[in-house]
C-alpha cells in the first residue's frame, strides 16, 4: 500500500459531493499516509459521476439531506406537567382548548463513528502491507467522505480496550487529528472485540453510523453480542471484515513455521494438507458472523488486502445503494 511519502507534494483531490473547496483535500493529504489521494480521487469521482452512491451511503441517517438546517414540525403530544412551556401550541389551545406540545424533528448532521481494530493481529502483512494500514486507509477515506458532506466523524481505536475515543466532529483539523492518531497507534496488544463493542455502545449516546473495521479475530458469539448492543442503541452498523490475502487463501505450499500473534505459540506444519480444513474454518467463521449481522440488519463487508481500497469501498457503496433503492 502507498505509504506516507506517497502523499508528498501538491495533489489535487477534487472531492465532489457538496462542492466544498478543492484545496482541503490537499491539505489533509499532506499529513496522512492513510489518505491515499488516488483512493480519495477515485471515490470522489465516483461520487461526482454517481452522486447517488454517496447519497445511498448516508441515506436513512439524514432525515432529509437536502433540507439543510431547518427545524421541522413532527407531531403533537398532549401536555404533561414538567414539559417546557415554550413548546406549547397556542393555536391548538386556542381552537380546541386543549394543551398540546409541538414536537419537532431534531434535524442534525450525520454522526459517523469508525471503530478501528488496532490489535496485534492487525499488524499481519503478507505481500500487501498490514491489515491495519489497509483498515486505516478505509477509515480515513470514509471519514474524509463523511466530512466532505458536512457530517461529523469520530474514531475509536481499540485493542483489548478502547485506546482512543475521538468524538465525532466535522472539521479538517479533526480529520487531521484522527489520521494522526491512527498513525501513532501501536498494534501490540490482544483483541477483546466483544468487550470493546459493549463499551462503544455505552459511550455513543446519539444515533450514529457505526463502522467497525476489524479482522474480527475473536469469538463470533462475543462479536455478535457486541454488535447487538450497538444495534440496540439504534445505530446503523456496518462491519468491514478485513482479511489479509494469505489469510483468505492460505497459499502456503511448503513446510512453514507460523509464529502466532497475540500470544499464540508457534507451529511448524506442512500447510498443504491443512489448506482445505483451514479455508473451511474461515468460511465457517465468516458465515457465522454474516448470519449474526443479517439477523441484526447489519451490513457485513469482507475485504482482503489485495483488493484496491477504492474498488472495495465503491463496490460496497454500490451494493448498499441498490439495497436502499430496492426498499
Amino acid at each position: 500500500m502507498p505509504r506516507a511519502d506517497f502523499f508528498k507534494g501538491e495533489v489535487d483531490i477534487g472531492v465532489g459531493g457538496k462542492g466544498k473547496g478543492k484545496g482541503k483535500g490537499t491539505a489533509l493529504a499532506d499529513h496522512s499516509k492513510y489518505l491515499d489521494p488516488r483512493v480519495l480521487n477515485r471515490v470522489a469521482r465516483l461520487n461526482i459521476r454517481a452522486r447517488t452512491v454517496m447519497e445511498g451511503f448516508v441515506s436513512g441517517l439524514h432525515k432529509s439531506p437536502y433540507h439543510g438546517f431547518s427545524v421541522e414540525f413532527a407531531q403533537h403530544r398532549e401536555y404533561t406537567p414538567g414539559d417546557d412551556l415554550r413548546f406549547l401550541d397556542w393555536k391548538v389551545y386556542g381552537r380546541s382548548d386543549r394543551l398540546y406540545i409541538k414536537q419537532y424533528e431534531q434535524e442534525t448532521n450525520l454522526r459517523a463513528y469508525i471503530i478501528l481494530d488496532a490489535s496485534e493481529s492487525m499488524d499481519y502483512a503478507s505481500d500487501n502491507g498490514t491489515k491495519f494500514d489497509y483498515a486505516a486507509t478505509i477509515a480515513a477515506s470514509l471519514a474524509h467522505l463523511v466530512m466532505e458532506q458536512q457530517d461529523s466523524a469520530g474514531l475509536v481505536l481499540f485493542d483489548r480496550l478502547i485506546s482512543k475515543f475521538i468524538h465525532a466532529q466535522c472539521s479538517p483539523q479533526h480529520l487531521r487529528v484522527m489520521v494522526t492518531e491512527m498513525e501513532a497507534q501501536k498494534t501490540t496488544e490482544k483483541t477483546d472485540l466483544g468487550h470493546v463493542l459493549h463499551d462503544v455502545a455505552e459511550r455513543i449516546k446519539h444515533k450514529s453510523l457505526v463502522v467497525l473495521i476489524s479482522d474480527l479475530l475473536d469469538k463470533p458469539e462475543t462479536i455478535i453480542s457486541g454488535l447487538q448492543h450497538l444495534k440496540h442503541g439504534r445505530h446503523d452498523v456496518i462491519v468491514i471484515h478485513v482479511l489479509d490475502e494469505y489469510e483468505a487463501r492460505f497459499p502456503f505450499d511448503r513446510m512453514t513455521r507460523f509464529d502466532g500473534l497475540e500470544g499464540y505459540p508457534y507451529l511448524i506444519v506442512d500447510p498443504k494438507p491443512l489448506r482445505e480444513a483451514y479455508l473451511e474454518e474461515v468460511r465457517k467463521f465468516t458465515n457465522e458472523i454474516r448470519r449474526g449481522c443479517l439477523a441484526q440488519r447489519i451490513d457485513f463487508v469482507q475485504v482482503t488486502t489485495d483488493q484496491p481500497v477504492d474498488v472495495a469501498i465503491s463496490a460496497y457503496l454500490a451494493r448498499r445503494l441498490s439495497k436502499r433503492r430496492a426498499k
Binding site: R254, F258, D259, L261, Y264, I268, P273, E280
Partner: protein, 737 residues
Amino acid sequence: MGFLHGSLMWLGLAGSIPILIHLFNRQRYKRVRWAAMEWLLAALKKTRRRMQIENLILLLIRIAVLVLLAMALARPFLQSALASQIGESNTHAVIVLDVSYSMDYRGVDRGTPLEKARQIAQSILTDLKTTENDRFSLILLTDSPNAAIGEPSSRVDMGREIVGGATATDQGTSIPRTMELVKDALEKSNNFVKKVFIITDNQRHAWTVTEKDRPRVAELFKQVTDMTAPNGGGIYLYDVGGNVVDNIAVVGLEMGVSQKVVSTDNSCEFRTVIRNYGSMQMSDVVLNVLVDGAKQGSYTLTVPARNDLSQAFYHTFREPGAHAVTVEIEADALSHDNRRSLAVDVREALKVLMVNGEKGSTMQTDEVAALKMALNPSQDATDKRWVFSITEVLENGFAREDPRKFDLVVLANVETVSPEEIAALEEYVKAGGGVLIFLGDKVEAYTWNQVVWRNGDGLIPCELDKPAGYPKNDDAMKFTGVDYTHPALSYFQTAKPMLGRLLVSQYFAVKPFDPRPDAKVIASLGVAGADPAPLLLERRMGRGRVILCTTAPDFEWGLMPKVPGFLVLFDQICQYLASPPQRFRNITVGDQLEYTLKATEFAKTFSIVTPRQNRSSILPVKAGEHAYHLMFSGTTEAGLYGLERDPQEGETQPTLLTWYAVNVDPEEGFVEKMTEPELRTMYPQFRFTYVEQGTGSQPEKIAVKAPASNIWKYLVGIILGLLVLETWLAQVFGAKR
C-alpha cells in the same frame, strides 16, 4: 533366512532416507508471523490424525521399498524346509581335492587318481545350481592344505579353472589338518544343506595320527559330521586310489655316521636308502649318483619286497663351498619320490681356536697338547689329511681374538673369563658357532657361575660346584649313561668298548639341574657309591651348540689321552660342534629355508633359485642386535634351491652361497589304502558315504531340484507393487488436500 551377499544388506540403511528427508524438510521451513492462529489450530486439530496416518502409510511404503530393494540385492534365501517348497536349491558343497604327490601314481592300464579326481570335482561343480543358492568351497588337500576358495562362492568358472589346472604337488597328505579348513568353510556357510566331498586316493597314512592326537582329531571329525548331518547333507568320501601299491622310492640320503664335516680332498661317505613298498622284489634297479648335477656313478640294485636297502657311496670334493649330492632311481609308477638330494657344505679346513688355560712344556703338563694331537696328529696346518687347523692362544690372549673367524672355540681349563669375552662368545654361538669347554683345576667356579652360567642363561648348562674324584689315576672312573643317539656320540654305538677304555680320575662336580630341551647331559661318569656325575653336557643356544666337559683333556685329571678313544671322541665332538647344522639345509617340501648372514652382508641383496630355475629376491630380516636372517617359505616343490648373492659391483654373475635340498615326505609314496571298515572303526563318530571310484562306479550327484523362482524375484514383484500403491495413495491423499 540368510543372505548370499550379506554385506549388501547395509544398503538397507537406505530405508532411513525417507525419514531423513522428512526430518530434513522439517528443519527447512519458511517462517511467517501469523494472525489467524485460531483457525489454523482448529484446522490442524481436525486434520492431524488423518494426516499422521496418511503420512505414516506413505513413509512406511517408501521405507519398505528401499529395504526390500536392499534385501533383493543381498539375495536372500530361506534356511528352512520352506526353501525347498518354493524350489530353491540351497546346498553348500565343500570340495576337497587331494593334490598330494601320491595322486600322480600312474597305473598300468589307466590314468592317475588325480585325473579321476578332477573329473569328479568338475562333475560336482556342474551339478551345482549357483544361479539359485548353491555355493561351493574348494580345498586342496595336502599336508599343508590350502583353501583355494575358502569363502562360499558361486564362481563356478573360477572353480573349474582351479580344478582343471590342479596338478600333483610334491607334498604329502594330512586329512586331519585339511578337516580344519573344511570346518572353517562350513562355518562360513549360510546354506540349508551342507555337503563335503573328499576326493582322495585314501592313503592309510593320510588318516593316521599319533595316539596323543587321536581324541582331538576324532572330535574334529565328529564336529564336521554334525555340521553336515542336518537337512540331507553329509560327507562323501570318493576313493579314487588304485589297489596296486608297487612303488620304489629313495627315502633317505645322508652323510656317513662318522662323517660330520666334509672337507676338500678327503673321501666322504654318503648313505642312501631305497625302499620297496611293493609285494615283489625289484631287481635291476639303477641308482644314479649326481654331484652338483653331474653324474658321478651308478649302482644296480636289487631291493627286496616291502623292505629297505641301504647303499653307501663315496665322493671326494676338490673345491670348498656349497655342493649338492643327488641320488635318483629310474622312473616307476610314482616319479615324485624317485629322487633325493643332500646339500653339503665342503670345507677346506675347520679353524679351531684353542685357549690354553695351563701352558706346559710337555704333553703331560700342557692342557691342550693331547687335544691338539688328537685333532691334527701331524701338527701341520697345511696337511689336508686332517680337517682341523688349530690356532692356540693363552688365556690372556683370548680377548684379542675374534671368535667369528673360527669354526670352533675350545676353552681348556681357563681360570676366568670376562663378561665381554663371554658376550662375544654367546653372540658367536647364537649365530651358529660351536664352543667346547674343558674344566680343570684352574677354573674359578664362582667367577664362572657369575659370568658364564648366569642362572641358566649363559653358555654352560649347569652351575659349577667344586672339583671331585680321586687324586690317583688308579681309581679312575669310566663313562656311563652315554646318549648314543646324539650325533657327537653316535659313532660309538658300534664301538662301545672304545669308549669304555677312557678313564677319568677327577672331574668338576656340578650342581643338580633339570634337563631342558636346550640343556642336557649326553654322557656321565660312573662314581662308586654315588649317582653318576655329568661328564659331557650340551647346551644349545640360537643356532649354535656348546659342549661342556667337566674334566680336563690332559693327564692330570685322568688317562683319557692315553687311549685311541680320546682321539675319536674329541674328533667327533669337534666335528659336531664345528659343522653347520645340516638339518637347516636339508628339509622337507613346505618347510622354510633359513640362512644366517654375516654381519657385513646384511646390506646386500639375495635371491633364491628354485628347482624350476625361477628366481625370487629375498630381503634380510633382523633377528638380533647384529644378526640378520634370510628366510624363504615357498618350498612347494622338491629339488635343489640355490641361495645366491646378487652380483656386486664388478661382478657379472651371482655368487652361490649354499644349496638347500628340499625333499618329499617318503611316507607319501606308500599308497596303501585305508579300507572303509578300518576307517569307520578308527573314527566311529565320523559318518560318511564311501564311494569307491577305483571300481568304475558313477560319482554320486548332488540332489538338486528343478530351478524355480527365487526369493529375490518375489521381492522385486513386491517392490513394484508397493511403488504403484505409493503413487496411487499419494495421488488420493494429495487430492484430498
